[in-house]
Amino acid sequence: MATAGSQTSGEYISHHLQNLHVGEGFWSLHLDTLIVSGLLGLIAFGGMMLLARKASSGIPTGAQNCVEMIVSVVNDQVKDTFHAKSDLVTPLAITIFVWVFLMNAMDLIPVDFLPLAASSAGVEYLKVVPTTDPNLTFGMSIAVFFIMIAMNLKFKGVRGLLKEALTVPFGKYLFPVNLLFRIIEDLAKPISLALRLFGNMYAGEMVFILLAVWMGASYWWVPAGAVLSLGWALFHILIITLQAFVFMMLTVVYMSMAAENH
């Protein structure tokens, strides 16, 4: 739709994949990712906080009902998977599910709405879906990784963790192999978490962008493109929920693996 004027399709696509950033090299920040994810989080968790403060044991209404439903679904999953006692795991799971879901849901806003609004306000680049930025997914998954290590240390202690890393799965005589396996296994966890979410959302966003380019090529394509975009958006509701759920569920599984002896 926005291919008017001097922009070619290639330029349009790369424009959409460009973050709004400041700074150079490693010490640069993607302002769009940070601001959109931060705003969503502040609205969601601030709202939940206000709601939780007023939460009563009486008949829940409206928003409280909705939040309680989400929270208790997450809590049930945690209870099924994570059997040790921890005050952290359920809030962690709730945070991941709600936040990732909301960030993914930005994908359902038509691709050009917010960037056009931003460019008319003088902001040149805007990537609206924070989960299509690997910085975000890795930021979360690496945080999960450190929480996992802390959980290991809390439940097994340094000795227990070392013993497990050195003797599982092949016994103490093959400790170098055991250790190598363990390191690979644990490093794979944050990487797979981050890349799965990033890949799914990036690909989904890309389909929307390509459909928009196609519709921009000729007015003849607009009806078909609109139908396909709607279809993909409906299907995407499933994907964004599923990806948020998968990220949450795997985190809980990793936590339970950290808390229990194999």
């Binding site: 993607h30 309680e68 962690l92």
Partner: protein
């Protein structure tokens, strides 16, 4: 892929939101939900208890009714028995009274008869005396024959 300091910023956001959820979102919600669960459980238990008590009360009422019915039956049967007894008693009483009246009447009759006999005897004696006086056509000394007359009188009795 373009990894940069955004990652650190995101980790900070993430940490902030986890902290918020852990501190201010989850505990009050959890407490509210648990309280509600407990209230509902208590309510259901109270309802169950009420229902049980109602059933017990109904059972008790039934028993009381049954007992009362039995008592009423007993009272009625006793009353019937008593009335029968009273009737019987009255009958007996009447019979005895009747007999007494009859016997009194009989005694009176006998007395009357006796009195009549006595009078007759006296009158017959005087008649006989008068008859004898006329037959003999002469005066008889009543004093002299008093003994004889007395004997005659008693023979007539």
């Amino acid at each position: 892929m373009n990894i940069n300091a955004t990652l650190l910023g995101q980790a900070l956001w993430f940490a902030l939101f986890i902290w918020l959820t852990m501190k201010y979102v989850w505990p009050p919600l959890q407490k509210a939900m648990q309280d509600r669960q407990k209230e509902i459980a208590d309510g259901l238990a109270a309802g169950e208890k009420g229902r049980q008590e109602l059933a017990e009360a109904a059972e008790k009422v039934n028993q009381e009714l049954q007992k009362t019915k039995e008592q009423a039956m007993e009272i009625i049967s006793q009353a019937e028995k008593r009335s029968g007894e009273l009737i019987e008693e009255a009958k007996n009483h009447a019979k005895v009274e009747g007999e007494r009246i009859v016997s009194a009447a009989k005694a009176e009759i006998e007395q009357e008869v006796n009195r009549a006999k006595e009078q007759l005897r006296v009158q017959v004696a005087s008649l006989a005396l008068a008859g004898a006086e006329q037959i003999l056509q002469k005066e008889i000394d009543a004093n002299a024959h008093a003994d004889m007359l007395k004997r005659l009188e008693s023979e007539l009795g």
